[in-house]
Amino acid sequence: MQADKITVTGFRHFFKTEGGDVQATGSIDIAIRPGEFVTLVGPSGCGKTTLLKAIAGFITPTEGTILCDGKPVRGPGRDRGVVFQELAILPWRTVRRNIGHGLEIARVPKAERDRAVARLIDLMGLAGFEDRYPHELSGGMRQRVAVARTWAADPEIILMDEPFAAVDAMTRLTLQEELGRLCATTRKTVFFITHSVEEAVFLADRVLVMTKRPGTIKAVLDVPRHDAGGRDWDSFTSDPEMRAIAEQVMHLVHAERVA
């Protein structure tokens, strides 16, 4: 058996505020295997972002331990890339310089950097926009740049917090398929937060469902893959097995709605 890539044990987090401590999450235990795509759904405010930020190393857990490759997380690092819902890429850098930013920080020589960036620009359908600034792009394209920037830095783990939530529904379908393909070819370990049950099931090897705040893991559902590549929406929607899983997740999530 392969060792886990991410292990969260007994994680609980409280935020200190002027009105006293706010409990953001209940006790959470998670193990994510290398190359696995794990999605997390749960009601708003249940602590999803808090958990992701703790894995990313942005916040220190009040309780519990988080291990990546068996080593405790002590802060952010290049091994864990992050994609946020919005406001991620820098408005004062062109598409090319945003995507190459991680490599620039790592002092990768320019020629090599350009090659990596060019490949991702192709892969993400951004050709022709290399020298544009983010404000000249659509919301969907900006998220593509954010995803490409993270991939360019080549981290082993990718943490995504509702990366497509601010994108229109049509573009989202495309981005989801692209992400699925990208992951299938690069074998990253992905932890992906979403509000969309469909998205969670479509992308995942495993779906985690959280309870309402203070959130704990309520259920874990495996989503079997029948081929190595990424899924596509046409076959996904017509697959009764997938529909059944989505339905199941939907029931679990709905039970957590705040009355």
Binding site: F58, P76, H101, I105
Partner: protein
Amino acid sequence: MTSATIARTVWRDTRILLPFVVLIAAWWALKVGLDVSDQLLVSPPRVWDGFVYLVTHGILAEYASTSLRIIGISALISFAIGVPLGFAVGTNRYASRALEGTLRFLQGISGIAWLPLAILWFGFTHTTTLVIVIYTLIVPIVFNTMTGVRAIPENYVLALRSLGAGPVRIVTDVYLPGALPSIVVGMRLGMGYGWRALIAAEMLVRQGGLGDLIFGARSFNQIDRIMVGMVVIGVLYIVVDRLLVQPIETLTLARWGVLRR
């Protein structure tokens, strides 16, 4: 080029001057129509003569260069101190909360209000003027740098730290460019306030400068000189603003677009 396009170009380039022409015409009409005494108002040609006299005798250059030197030195010092200070305060949530009230309080006390104290401390010297102008300039620079830094979305910083960026990288790649538009706004405001404070301080300190020129002219009823001085003060401000501050603003803002938050 047809005569029509030439006319259009000339019109485009001169139309900002039109209100001035109207103003001068009104002034002249007032002077002639109401037969105002030379003790109160002189005609535009008299002011022009005064201007020519001041220029040919090197007087204007002398006084104007004093003012420009002081505003230039003040701007450099204020920038060098104000921007890092604004960063230090802006990146530290506790410091910025604690200092926000103080900065607002200081914004309320104009540089001129410090003059009595400054004169007691430094006498009627350029130091007094410099201190007043730096004070006036630095407050909006610190304040705007601080607000600019604080308005930068946290995600920019977090994402970059996950790409392996250290503190220096965060400053050069996120804080500086992110706060630059605000810094420029602070500089621009500061230059406006500073220039006014400078003229006022010069009037009291009387050690040269355009404020000294127009205040001194008052003692001898040299209305033409007073008016020349006022026009030069206004024109120099426009020149400094147009040549220095505006280009930076257009360069940064136009290129990056309105920052989306």
